[in-house]
């Protein structure tokens, strides 16, 4: 189980990055004997708008466009300014993984990714 990533995409550690119009999603990691199972909470996202990529053997990058522009005002925060159009996260894998054999499922706005372990 892992907490929300604190990657280079983060500002103020809050997970909202108005400069990049991106939001860090909540995620979970489960390491099984043969695979890593990653789930990511993606409200306001359509499955077709999700892109996955492994820049290295031990990391996964997620980019997902939201179905609409989201503002802090939409969420009730009138004093903060920012518009968000995507989720973005780079998640470190605890073991090396095989990008070529990734399989995904998207249900109830939650992305589930199965990534075979390389070792």
């Amino acid at each position: 189980m892992s907490s929300e990533p604190r990657s280079e995409f983060s500002t103020h550690g809050s997970g909202w990055n108005p400069a990049a119009a991106s939001i860090q999603p909540l995620y979970n990691l489960f390491v099984a004997a043969t695979e890593v199972v990653l789930t990511v909470d993606l409200p306001y996202v359509d499955q077709k708008r999700v892109k996955l990529h492994c820049p290295t053997e031990d990391s996964v990058e997620i980019f997902a466009e939201t179905s609409r522009k989201i503002t802090f005002r939409d969420l009730g925060a009138k004093h903060r300014h920012g518009e968000f159009t995507c989720y973005r996260a780079r998640i470190r894998m605890p073991v090396p993984v095989d990008e070529k054999k990734i399989s995904t499922k998207f249900k109830r706005g939650v992305l589930e990714v199965h990534i075979p372990r390389l070792r």
Partner: protein, 253 residues
């Protein structure tokens, strides 16, 4: 402030309006899937409950929350329709869990509380595949099973980590009737669908008519708006070893 009760470790329950006796206390503290907090907040807005008090402690972070331009306590009490609803807009720090649980039950006893109803989540790995989250009930006494009216299945074995476990135990010790409803949910994603399922059970148990349609309709907005709270709650759940709830108790009988 019209009244206050001071408990252990500097916990103070402040009553800012008259709080009815023999009410049902509903606890909506941040926990698995924020089920309790989302459900309790929805009760407050749907039944238009009035703010009647607050819980303060030196163990809470030094902050307030603004609502309608006014400073509010982090843990507040709302009342109406025979209910007193307790919600927290911050995670409960681990050192505060025990004094808070004890303080709530001690205070409830002074109010001759009819029932202590705590709302929480029960993490399940395949939550995405569950269309209708199931509700389980842990009881302070066997005879409370009849009050469930089939809305929840009795939880016979298992661990409950955190404030709700301590509240239930203390209620059992002091003969305060208590039910803890745990609804199948995501572990660390806000789960308004699970909150709606919990409220459907609450409606049956308390013979209420809380409308959950808005909770479901605004599901995506609620999930995103609660993201930061869920993240902080997750960090606190790690500190209290919440994953212990996945374990099987070794004893039987």
């Amino acid at each position: 402030m019209s009244n206050s009760l001071s408990g252990k470790d500097g916990l103070r329950i402040l009553e800012t309006a008259t709080i009815p006796k023999e009410a049902v206390i509903v606890n909506g503290l941040p926990d698995v899937g924020l089920v309790g907090l989302l459900a309790a907040s929805h009760i407050i807005s749907d039944l238009k409950l009035k703010e009647v008090g607050a819980i303060e402690s030196d163990l809470l972070p030094p902050m307030i929350v603004l609502h309608g331009g006014l400073p509010k306590a982090l843990i507040r009490l709302f009342a109406g329709n025979g209910l007193v609803v307790i919600i927290s807009e911050t995670t409960i720090p681990v050192p505060l869990i025990k004094p808070l649980a004890t303080g709530i039950v001690d205070w409830a006893r002074t109010k001759n509380t009819k029932l202590m109803l705590s709302l929480g989540g029960m993490a399940v790995a395949n939550r995405q595949d569950i269309d209708a989250p199931k509700v389980f009930a842990a009881l302070s006494a066997k005879e409370l099973e009849s009050k469930l009216h089939g809305a929840a299945e009795v939880l016979e074995e298992g661990y409950i980590v955190g404030a709700y476990g301590l509240i239930l135990r203390k209620c059992a010790e002091t003969s305060v009737p208590a039910i803890t409803l745990l609804t199948q949910s995501y572990y660390n994603y806000p789960d308004p669908e699970a909150a709606a399922a919990a409220l459907t059970a609450v409606n049956k148990i308390l013979d209420l008519n809380v409308d959950v349609s808005d909770l479901l309709k605004r599901g995506e907005e609620i999930r995103l708006k609660s993201k930061d709270m869920m993240h902080r709650t997750h960090e606190e759940m790690l500190r209290m070893d919440k994953s212990h709830e996945f374990d099987l108790p070794p004893m039987y009988g």
